[in-house]
């Protein structure tokens, strides 16, 4: 890994969520995507904070959109994955694959 920092678990989730969307992804859509696909209980601010961190690591890029009255006059920020981000995703997938191979989880047994 070029950077020396591994993707944290939530960082990975957010990055994957972003990867599933197109260029018009912003916080709300990433949040909804993750929620829809994983059913995980998360919050919009948490997603944004993670996106901010990912941006600092260079894995995502952002551009500011327009403000609307509906948003109380606040601008939107659109995110997309950078090349480094893609690299990080791939590296993460490889690492996890390697770790997962050979691992057998026990069958869930129901309580009788």
């Amino acid at each position: 890994m070029a950077r020396g920092d591994h993707l944290g678990e939530f960082e990975l989730v957010v990055l994957l969520g972003l990867a599933r969307l197109d260029d018009e992804a912003y916080g709300m859509t990433v949040f909804e995507e993750i929620e829809r696909v994983t059913g995980r209980d998360l919050s919009i601010p948490a997603v944004y904070v993670t996106l901010s961190r990912l941006e600092k690591k260079g894995y995502v890029d952002s551009r500011t959109g327009d403000a609307t009255a509906e948003r109380g006059g606040r601008a939107k920020k659109f995110y997309r994955i950078t090349e480094n981000g893609e690299t990080a995703l791939r590296a993460s997938q490889e690492m996890l694959d390697r770790l997962w191979s050979g691992v057998r989880t026990r069958e869930a047994t129901s309580n009788s």
């Binding site: 919050s43 944004y48 904070v49 009255a69 920020k77």
Partner: protein, 904 residues
């Protein structure tokens, strides 16, 4: 051209402001806008789909779910980003987060060392709780303003007879009150009151009710408390021929009428007279006088009757000073009035003045000294406890030296470490404070229950926010006292020393020995002072109990009866009733003897009157010659064990037909008949114009009528048969426990008159103890505090000596190796301990001599600097110090020099 008015834009519903603010403060700057914008979108979405409540709930959930990561970005503080690896968890430090971290760590440490934590928290909890409980009593009685509007305007007014009879707080006569009331420029209203105990009949069994007589403006203008139902008294109500009306208390209303709202206008029978209820006072209402009264009635004054002579003082007064008028102005005005009255009515008013005090301070003046003494004492206990906790923490620092050194090595700077350690102490203090608050609740209830009955304002004692603030303050103080020192010590760890195996340990702590020793000396000093205080009170109480009362209270039962005017309209009827009652009661099994008296000793219901001696010149204007008087039946003296020193007591033949007689007491005899025999001389209490001369037939020994501590005053006895009154008490001497006779006596009374109720049913022993109520209360508490302080100080001393032995192991080992005998070692340790205690005792004695002066008003028969008390406690503490060090001394002796020196 008509322009339609532009439609006003609708205000967009906004998300909860607080939530938005929290997020704004905690989000990183670069995503603040978009996040808030997205959330605003989501909020509107929820609003359209559901309702406002759902939308707000959703918004708050978003905030809550993101709080943990938020903490890392600090709440707006400039963060000093430091990464500290600790146990694998990565921390991005900043002030807020590190404090939270410290608190979590402190809680974890507390749970890990559960035994230690329990000891500390319990010690602190008891100390803080006791302080808070005592404070709540001090606050309720001394500090809290009275529960009336503008209470600072309320004053008590007394007639000042100090020039004439030596009494400063004398009661009023009606004319003197009436004249004062006319000073409306300074007084909004002056009110008068008096005790009143009518018999209530017609609502269940006959019952003697505590009540009060008032002037019309007392509740409405002086206290300014309106009734919760009906109306208050109005000036017309107290005209002599006005209908009989009463106000009842809330408790009376609940008890007898079940809270029925139609009570206004109903009548009740008091002393056989029908009274109409015109109003109900609010729940919890307690006038400063007769706080337990359930009924109030008006004085109905006819200004012309002889009862209202300017010289007859039977009233007490309360006034409200006009807004804007100062106490000094009111006093000056009253003094001016007194001078005018003196000139106008020289006979009655020469030397008579008005004295005015602020109500609250006058009401509680006797509670001040005891309460402040108790507060100081319990404060000492807390100090001692805090020192113990500090020593415990200091000792624990030794065992944590490795841990602290490692922390320091890994980058926790001195300040950071200091903060960590201090936060640990703060956690302990907070836990102790919580326990303390619970203790305070229970403790306050206990104190109120134990307080002597009749303590003014005891009902105003309550645990509320003020008390909580005090508890918080005490906790914070305790925290600084015991937390700062160990934290300072612990944060100055010498790394090399600490990490060396078998190293001498925290070098910095060796100077802590001096501090530890001084703390213990302080503890012992405080404990000594408390022990001396308790000892003085115990001795004082013993002296009080040993006072010769002049009568024998053991096995005596007493109860008071009030014969209603309606059924017992004249002397014949009253004398007759008591005759029959005494005959009936003397037949009861278990009754050895009985008698009746108008004033039971120590009951506080005394009356006095001017008297004149036959053949002597009349006392001059302004020269007081009064005597306290009681009416008694012939068997009274014998029943009470009061000796008749000269002449005789009364016999049944001293009745209405016989010549008027009287028995005087020793004090009167000594004062007015110092050289001759009073027997045969005659006195009159009927005024100087038409005297009724009564022959002195006997001299009785003095009794403690006014209080065990009081001196004796001029007193005289009249035969009840010759001067019967409606209000008499029966005293019975019984074999065995007097209280077992109560039902039989009540029955006997009921047989004679079923509509008569006995009140103040008690034993004389109980009355004697009650009169010592305040002293007993203070003694009990001081003894408790002293005992706790004693135990704590002993434990503290033991701890320090024990710790000293541990630290000086090598020195002990060396001494033994160099030939010291066991006895020498023991002497060293015990001698050390005794010296510490001795220093503490010395400091304590000096402090005690200064401080016990505060108590001198509470003591009887023993001086505040009593050498015996000081000496005994000094010796006691020193001996205990020697004993406490016996165990550590034994440990020191058992030190194996080889084992110790090998670790070099």
């Amino acid at each position: 051209m008509n322009h339609r008015p532009r439609p006003r834009p609708r205000l967009r519903p906004r998300p909860p402001r607080l939530a938005e603010w929290l997020l704004a403060r905690s989000l990183p700057r670069d995503v603040r806008e978009p996040t808030l914008g997205d959330l605003a979108e989501g909020f509107l979405h929820m609003l359209r789909r559901h309702d406002r409540l759902a939308a707000e709930t959703w918004y708050w959930r978003q905030v809550r779910g993101s709080l943990n990561p938020m903490v890392r970005w600090s709440f707006g503080f400039r963060s000093i980003r430091r990464k500290v690896h600790w146990g694998g968890a990565r921390l991005r430090g900043n002030i807020m987060q590190s404090i939270l971290q410290d608190i979590r760590y402190g809680l974890r440490a507390a749970v890990k060392n559960l035994g230690f934590t329990l000891v500390v928290v319990m010690t602190l909890g008891l100390g803080i709780g006791a302080n808070t409980a005592i404070f709540s009593v001090v606050d309720g009685i001394l500090l809290r303003p009275l529960p009336y509007p503008n209470p600072e305007q309320l004053v008590t007014v007394w007639a000042d007879y100090s020039v004439r009879s030596g009494r400063l707080r004398e009661w009023f006569s009606y004319p003197n009150f009436h004249d004062l009331r006319q000073e409306t420029e300074v007084f909004e209203e002056v009110g008068i009151w008096s005790d009143w105990n009518p018999t209530l009949t017609g609502l269940g069994s006959a019952e003697l009710v505590t009540g009060g007589l008032l002037s019309a403006g007392m509740f409405s203008k002086v206290l300014r408390i309106p009734p919760v139902m009906g109306r208050s008294f109005v000036p017309d109500d107290d005209k002599p021929n006005a209908p009989d009306v009463v106000l009842i208390s809330h408790g009376f209303w609940t008890r007898h009428f079940g809270g029925d709202h139609s009570v206004i206008g109903q009548s009740i029978s008091l002393n056989g007279v029908s009274n109409t209820i015109v109003g109900v006072m609010p729940a919890g209402f307690r006038p400063p006088f007769v706080p337990n009264a359930e009924l109030w009635k008006l004085f109905q004054m006819d200004m012309t009757t002889p009862n209202l002579s300017r010289g007859t003082a039977f009233l007490r007064a309360l006034a409200r000073i006009r807004d804007g008028v100062t106490l000094e102005t009111a006093r000056a005005r009253a003094t001016a009035l007194a001078s005018r009255l003196e000139a106008e009515y020289p006979r009655a008013n020469t030397g008579v003045g008005y004295v005015i005090f602020p109500l609250r301070s006058d009401l509680v003046r006797q509670s001040r000294a005891p309460l402040w003494v108790l507060l100081g004492a319990v404060g000492f206990v807390l100090l001692i406890a805090c020192v113990n906790v500090a020593n415990l923490l200091l000792a624990r620092m030794t065992s944590r030296q490795t841990e602290l050194a490692v922390r320091a090595a890994l980058g926790a700077g001195g300040n950071r470490l200091l903060r960590q350690l201090f936060t640990e102490s703060a956690v302990l203090a907070a836990l102790g404070g919580a326990v303390g608050f619970a203790v305070a609740f229970v403790g306050t209830d206990a104190l109120v229950a134990l307080a002597p009955s009749g303590t003014p304002r005891i009902a105003d004692v309550t645990v509320d926010l003020r008390i909580l603030l005090f508890a918080g303050g005490a906790t914070a103080l305790a925290m600084f006292l015991f937390g700062l020192l160990p934290a300072l010590r612990g944060s100055r760890v010498d790394l090399h020393d600490a990490l060396k195996v078998g190293g001498r340990g925290m070098g910095a702590l060796s100077t802590g020995r001096a501090i530890g020793n001084s703390l213990v000396i302080g503890q012992v000093a405080l404990a000594l002072i408390l022990l001396v205080g308790a000892g003085l009170m115990i001795r004082s109480l013993r002296e009080l109990n040993a006072v010769d009362l002049g009568f024998e209270p053991a096995g005596m039962l007493t109860m008071t009866l009030n014969l209603p005017q309606v059924r017992y309209p004249d002397r014949v009827a009253r004398a007759d009733f008591f005759n029959r009652l005494e005959t009936r009661l003397s037949g009861l099994p278990g009754v050895e003897s009985l008698g009746s008296v108008s004033v039971v000793p120590l009951s506080g219901n005394n009356s006095d009157v001017d008297f004149y001696i036959e053949g002597r010149s009349l006392p001059g204007v302004g020269e007081e010659q009064t005597v306290w008087y009681r009416r008694v039946t012939p068997t009274y003296f014998e029943t009470m064990g009061i000796r008749v020193i000269r002449g005789r007591g009364f016999t049944p033949s001293d009745d209405r037909q016989a010549p008027p007689v009287t028995v005087i007491n020793q004090t009167l005899a000594d004062r007015f008949f110092p050289d001759d025999d009073p027997i045969g001389k005659r006195i009159s209490v009927n005024g100087s114009q038409n005297p009724v001369w009564r022959e002195i037939v006997g001299v009785a020994e003095d009794i403690k009528n006014f209080g065990i501590q009081g001196g004796s005053r001029d007193a005289t006895y009249f035969p009840f048969a010759q001067l019967p009154t409606s209000f008499m008490a029966v005293v019975l001497r019984t074999a065995g426990d007097p209280t077992t006779l109560i039902p039989a006596v009540r029955n006997a009374i009921a047989e004679l008159d079923p509509n008569l109720a006995a009140s103040n049913v008690t034993t004389l022993d109980a009355m004697v103890q009650a009169s010592l109520g305040s002293e007993r209360f203070v003694t009990l508490l001081l003894t408790l505090f002293a005992a706790v302080a004693f135990v704590l100080a002993t434990v503290g001393l033991y701890g320090v000596v024990s710790y000293g032995v541990t630290r000086r192991r090598r020195e002990m080992g060396l001494r033994v190796a160099l030939g010291a005998a066991h006895g020498d070692i023991r002497k060293l340790i015990i001698g050390n301990s005794v010296m510490l205690a001795g220093a503490g005792v010395a400091v304590g004695i000096v402090g005690g001599l200064l401080l016990t002066r505060v108590m001198s008003g509470l003591l009887f028969g023993v001086r505040a600097t009593d050498p015996v008390t000081f000496g005994v406690t000094a010796v006691l503490l020193t001996c205990v110090a020697a004993l406490a060090s016996a165990l550590p001394a034994q440990r020191a002796v058992k030190i194996d020099p080889m084992a110790v020196l090998k670790n070099e």
